[in-house]
């Protein structure tokens, strides 16, 4: 139990397990931001995806239904964002924040409204089964790493696959190229016949849908227990927005970023255990306040933001037209 290697392995294992929703949220937001839209509604979007996905998944006792509904419900939030900011040219900051307010309101409204009818996850065997760790053949036998990376549940693998897929899509397909052009210079994309409206709508919906998958993951990771005071998402949506910046708008970097942010996030839980297991090397962890670990993702991101604005480097992945609405006849 107190075998240091076991504690370490468990710690590393949990970094992955607990923080994969961040990856979903981040990758979703990258897709949205690459289309030139700054959606501050990640938290609300994830919450909506989480609750509807979970309820549908329980009702149908099906993982696929859960994933699908969470994608669609969150996608609807994206569609709402698109209608308001793309078609109606509303301010993106205000719209995004309102999505969060609305989404959280809806989350609690639905959850509370269920009252006694709230389904426990144990009822839905398919969800329990779907969230059980799967050991990948051979790879899982690698000491420590096998447990950490290759003995996770299916949604972990799916999350990484989605990140890699989105990375490939953005950088190696023509639609991805066009999407990036829309976010960089919509006027240029428009002039060569890229349908800005279509690209924005599709990617805002798809990106939000991916965030919704992260919400569904959180629901399962919380064993589907609804609390009236605390939302499952618990600020992950905001961290995801930070992580987008940290990952420099690159989905593969987002995997790495998830591990870095997840490291701090999990360290606050495990600092005691780790200090106990390695009193010599890590005993000082006890002295570090847990709040610092919670704040570190935001501190790091703030530093990254400031540093990149000071250096103004060309390699920044931030879309040049991020946050600006496009109106073709503007002159």
């Amino acid at each position: 139990m107190n075998d240091p290697i076991n504690v370490l392995t468990l710690f590393l294992f949990n970094i992955v397990l607990i923080n994969i929703p961040l990856l979903y949220g981040t990758v979703g937001e990258i897709v949205v931001e690459k289309a030139g839209s700054l959606d501050l509604g990640v938290e609300g979007t994830m919450a909506v995806g989480a609750i509807f996905g979970y309820l549908a998944g329980c009702a149908a006792n099906s993982m696929v239904v859960g994933l699908l509904v969470s994608f669609l419900a969150a996608g609807l939030c994206g569609a709402l964002f698109a209608v308001l900011t793309v078609s109606f040219q509303a301010n993106q900051n205000v719209t995004g924040l309102t999505i969060t307010t609305f989404g959280l309101g809806l989350y609690f409204f639905v959850g509370k409204g269920m009252g006694e009818r709230w389904p426990a996850m144990t009822v839905a065997s398919a969800l329990v089964d779907g969230f059980t760790a799967r050991e990948l053949p051979l790879l899982s036998k690698i000491p420590v790493l096998g447990k950490v990376f290759f003995s996770q549940n299916l949604l972990v693998y799916l999350g990484v696959a989605v990140a890699v897929l989105v990375w490939w899509y953005l950088n190696f397909t023509k639609t991805g190229l066009r999407l990036r052009a829309v976010g960089e210079n919509p006027g240029a994309a428009d002039s060569v016949g890229v349908n800005i409206l279509l690209y924005k709508y599709v990617h805002l919906i798809a990106g939000s849908g991916i965030m919704g998958l992260g919400g569904f993951y959180m629901a399962l990771n919380m064993s589907g227990s609804f609390e009236g005071s605390n939302c499952w998402i618990n600020g992950y949506g905001w961290i995801a927005i930070a992580l987008v910046i940290f990952a420099n708008w690159n989905p593969v970097m987002a995997i790495l970023g998830t591990l870095v942010f997840g490291f701090f996030n999990t360290l606050q839980i495990y600092s005691g255990a780790l200090a106990g297991a390695f009193p010599g090397g890590l005993g000082w962890l006890n002295a570090v306040p847990a709040q610092l670990f919670k704040a570190l993702p935001f501190i790091i991101t703030a530093i990254v933001l400031i540093a990149s604005s000071v250096r103004k480097k060309e390699g920044s992945g931030q879309p040049a037209a991020l946050g600006l609405n496009y109106f073709r006849e503007e002159r």
Partner: protein, 373 residues
């Protein structure tokens, strides 16, 4: 396919009419209430009775009606001040979404003052010191971002967002750390728990019969008038208007745009910090999450009001009624709580944002006939 034509063609409207806007807003609120009613009915709650209870905020028939009003004011004052302050920043198109963080910093420094000086200063002086400490705490926190924005063009939206959470965990550190040096905590309690402020650090109230008028309401309303005057009559307010309208024109007129941004953001963040100070002073105790989302809601209020001072007063009342009303009504309806207010708030803003489109743009049918006036 080559003769495919879109039904409408969007063009910018030359001018908007205020009548149309007010109409849009009334419609938005009404429509939101209808959406809410449907949701309530789905939940098995009788919408009309709920709304009645919500809008009267449980005041009639209450045993302590004045207590309800006092609590309403405690909710209303921070929202009003924060919304006013955010409007200052938004007028210059500075996207300060760091109201939460600035509020927390204000509350924190006010708390520091209260816990350390509370015993030695008389109440009026103490409340003043807390207000100043809160204003400085919030103001400096905002100024930091403004300076980076002016100097390096740092994205203020994302940076203020990050600073919100940094402030939150900073405060939580003091809330959850039991230590000898931590003057915030109650030494009697074994668990970390905020100690009550000394009596002199509690917000001054003016007794009017059974009702205790919270001084911060008077100050907030005075601020309302002051900011109205500041924006509309003073040179500084004039500069804000020009910079917000057209930074190029401001430079052309010889204004120092950077300096104006710094000054205005400092004032904006300082007011938010002061609201934080008033909040903890009125509560008489620190809290680990003192904001009640006022930094976010303030954005909604400011936007609903089109950054207009009088409009902010109206919108802040409306939103507080929604929130406080839902809170009190939830005593009767366990399934519904304050979050229902957030939901309604969201729906109202969605409709207003959509309606704004029709006041800024118009749809023209091809051939020049206007389809929607």
């Amino acid at each position: 396919m080559k003769n495919r034509q879109p039904l409408f063609h969007v063009v910018k409207r030359e001018s908007g009419s205020p009548g149309r806007q007010i109409l849009a807003y009334v419609a938005a609120v009404a429509l939101a209430l209808v959406v809410g009613a449907v949701l309530l009915a789905v939940q098995g709650v009788e919408p009309l009775t709920f709304y009645k209870q919500m809008l009267t905020m449980g005041i009639p028939g209450s045993r302590y009606p004045w207590r309800a009003v006092e609590n309403f004011i405690k909710l209303f004052v921070p929202l009003l001040i924060v919304s006013l302050a955010l409007a200052l920043a938004f007028k210059m198109r500075f996207w300060n979404i760091g109201g939460e963080g600035q509020f927390i910093m204000g509350a924190f420094w006010a708390g520091v003052a209260a816990m350390n000086l509370g015993e030695s200063l008389p109440r009026p002086a103490m409340v003043l010191v807390m207000a100043v400490a809160g204003a400085l705490g919030g103001g400096v926190y905002g100024l930091f971002v403004a300076a980076l924005k002016v100097r390096f063009g740092t994205n203020e939206t994302l940076l203020t967002l990050m600073l919100n959470y940094i402030a939150l965990y900073f405060l939580q550190f003091f809330a959850e750390t039991k230590a000898d040096w931590n003057f915030f905590l109650d030494p009697e309690s074994a668990r970390p728990k905020f100690a009550k402020f000394p009596a002199s650090a509690q917000m001054i109230t003016i007794p009017i019969g059974p009702f205790n008028l919270n001084l911060s309401l008077v100050i907030a309303l005075a601020l309302c008038a002051l900011i109205f005057a500041y924006l509309n009559y003073t040179k500084r307010g004039y500069e804000i208007a020009v910079v917000g309208d057209s930074p190029n024109t401001a430079r052309y007129a010889g204004m120092k745009v950077g300096k104006i941004v710094l000054r205005t953001i400092f004032i904006s963040a300082a007011l938010i910090g002061m609201a934080g100070a008033f909040h903890v002073s009125s509560a008489g105790v620190m809290s680990a999450s003192p904001t009640n989302d006022v930094g976010w809601t303030g954005i909604v209020v400011a936007w609903l009001a089109k950054l207009n001072t009088v409009g902010i007063l109206v919108a802040a009342v409306l939103i507080t009624v929604l929130q406080f009303g839902c809170q009190t009504a939830s005593a009767t309806y366990p399934a519904i709580d304050a979050n229902f207010a957030n939901l309604l708030q969201g729906v109202i803003l969605f409709i207003v944002l959509a309606a704004d489109f029709f006041t800024r743009f118009k749809l023209v049918r091809r051939g020049g006939k206007e389809a929607v006036k």
